[in-house]
Symmetry: C2
Subunit: 429 residues, 2 copies
Amino acid sequence: MKPLSVGVAGLGTVGAGVVKLLRDNAELIAARAGRPIAVTAVSSRDRRRDRGVPVDGLRWYEDATALAADAGVDLVVETIGGSGGTARALVEAALAAGKPVVTANKALLALHGRALAALAEQRGVALAFEAAVAGGIPAIKAVREGLAANQIRRVAGILNGTCNYILTEMRTRGLQFAEVLHEAQKLGYAEADPSFDIDGVDAAHKLAILAALAFNRPVDFSELHVEGIRAVSAVDIAMADALGFRIKLLGIATRTEAGVSARVHPCMVPVASPIARVDGVFNAVVAEGDAVGRVMLEGRGAGAGPTASAVVADIIDIARGRVTPVWGAGAASLSAAPALPMERHRGAYYLRLMVVDRPGVIADVTAVLRDAAISMESMLQRGRAPGEAVPVVVTTHECEEAAMQRAITRLAALDSVLEPPALIRIETL
Amino acid sequence: MKPLSVGVAGLGTVGAGVVKLLRDNAELIAARAGRPIAVTAVSSRDRRRDRGVPVDGLRWYEDATALAADAGVDLVVETIGGSGGTARALVEAALAAGKPVVTANKALLALHGRALAALAEQRGVALAFEAAVAGGIPAIKAVREGLAANQIRRVAGILNGTCNYILTEMRTRGLQFAEVLHEAQKLGYAEADPSFDIDGVDAAHKLAILAALAFNRPVDFSELHVEGIRAVSAVDIAMADALGFRIKLLGIATRTEAGVSARVHPCMVPVASPIARVDGVFNAVVAEGDAVGRVMLEGRGAGAGPTASAVVADIIDIARGRVTPVWGAGAASLSAAPALPMERHRGAYYLRLMVVDRPGVIADVTAVLRDAAISMESMLQRGRAPGEAVPVVVTTHECEEAAMQRAITRLAALDSVLEPPALIRIETL
């Protein structure tokens, strides 16, 4: 059978990994795809750079969008990255030309997925993006196809390996955030400008995609509540341990009668919960369906191999004719459930206050919580240092985010409270 | 669009669960399938029994194979169970009639999958069986499609919830096997005749299927080495704890240059490995690919909801036209790699001997191991009881199964060894 001819745009780590994997496993991929798959064209700006894969004999384009116009290209792989610019122009051009697209680009999907899905549906071509969420873990396939019979109530996960690595190192080695970040940058686990990862933006892109699939409802990125891990301190990690929790940066999307909520922030999860034990650079995705119960998937969320594994799985699906609407259902069947704002969130909380160690402080703190109708579950003050700053930790029963935020404003205003209170939400998953 | 008309054969827990789920989530299933899916015919022997779902208005057949001949049925669901008889006759009749089949029947696939796959391919119709392995966990989809770009080196898992429940209860409550089994039978977690589960047969059926998918090679059931958990004692569970292991019944299939091996037996796995922490009735599947690394999926492996979730996911795939060859590649591309016999297995071992507590016994034991060229890693004798029976535990470095079996025969023949030695293989996963 005639090979499926693939054009790869972007020859960074992921793009080069895709070219290499398609060659290394060519025979088994052909068997599973039902036909050979061959890269025939590539696009990248600098032709001379060594990418670890030979590109001789391939048609070369400096302008990525030209790949879409190449009559010899059946399917376009986009591994340029970035939510706009060239990546977006290429994907639009390829879909408009009726060519299926496989992309690893979470930012593009999270920010422009609605329009791209409409274009793909209108042209009747596949737009696949397994690599955009949780690297090599087939999380998108599991949620969108494997659990398709379920009303999914919640989808959540550890979606950023850099954050999970930093939090794991902080815990196991008792270090502060800044120290571990610096080390991670030296090891190449964190970027020189780490804000995209550590401020939760990358995890939020992935959560927006997962939520859209789980609930058949495109999620606008502006609907998400996003916090990163900069404010998590070594004290919080130690306190979590003492309270039987682990701190994880989670993305959590929930569907109720009232609507859809999606949020990314540090969480305290019980040590015994399966996701608490997913450490280091590993990612995990948990989905809860009405029929299936809870399913968890874990594996490597980044790197050339895992990401290429997901991109090539999408190519094989398309070669076999296995196609799914972008958000799991056609445009006419998508849900228009409202987005719930973060103020409406209900949950339990961990609060850490740095207070002056003197009589009466705890009474002031508990009075503020009482006035906000927030019920305390536990209070912990470890160590004594009369007249100096000590941490006081409070955990609460379930209450509303809005009430908690009002209480925090009042707590921060107390004379005896020396720093802005630290808040971490408690989640059972 | 015209509904996809489904005939369900067998109205036990699973069949009734499928009918119920297709009704309960009809709207979202139609959105995801691209068309409504309606059960129009059922087959079961006893029409009067209450199954918790109304079956009024459905065409009723006492003879299941008649479903295949019903011109109004587009797709046949087989939930009768059993490796032969009615279930097999129905599946063959449906495929022969050019109708896609969805089944939850692991025994049927494990024992007759080769012939059924050939029939499905010849007729060009789908034969789907996600529910046959690990219940609601989309393990088959993950291995066959999600990791399709990978040379899979190993696939393994906790594939029987009854065994995992029994082993978990033995550990957490310090009970003997027989006590927990009895309790599990009362709770409905184990059958009145439990041998199918506790002797490893059910797990072996599932492993045969997973191995065939992972390696694109049908695995004859006779090629598997199968041991159950009857011989695991409370002493072994306690010793495992002391050595930093958990005992799990695992199915493990490996592909090397030399061939394919597939085995089901109790294993010692390090406490820190993710699969060690999958407890109770939960199942887990681990796959290791050359590009993706290790991926693990966990969830409920049985029950009406999870199993129906998997069956209906298959129906949705077929409605969407997403079809995959039974063993992941067409007959012409399947592998004919040889099966490796268990004697060729290499690994580390845990051995427990019940010996008379007297001087010289350890010297006899270690001499046998030395003569078999088996290298010891540790030796543990807890407690003293001069002249009485005490357990002595030995762990070894990697050696060949054949050498270990010869050593065990010699150890069993020693005067000071009072019971047949207990052997549990140590696995890192």
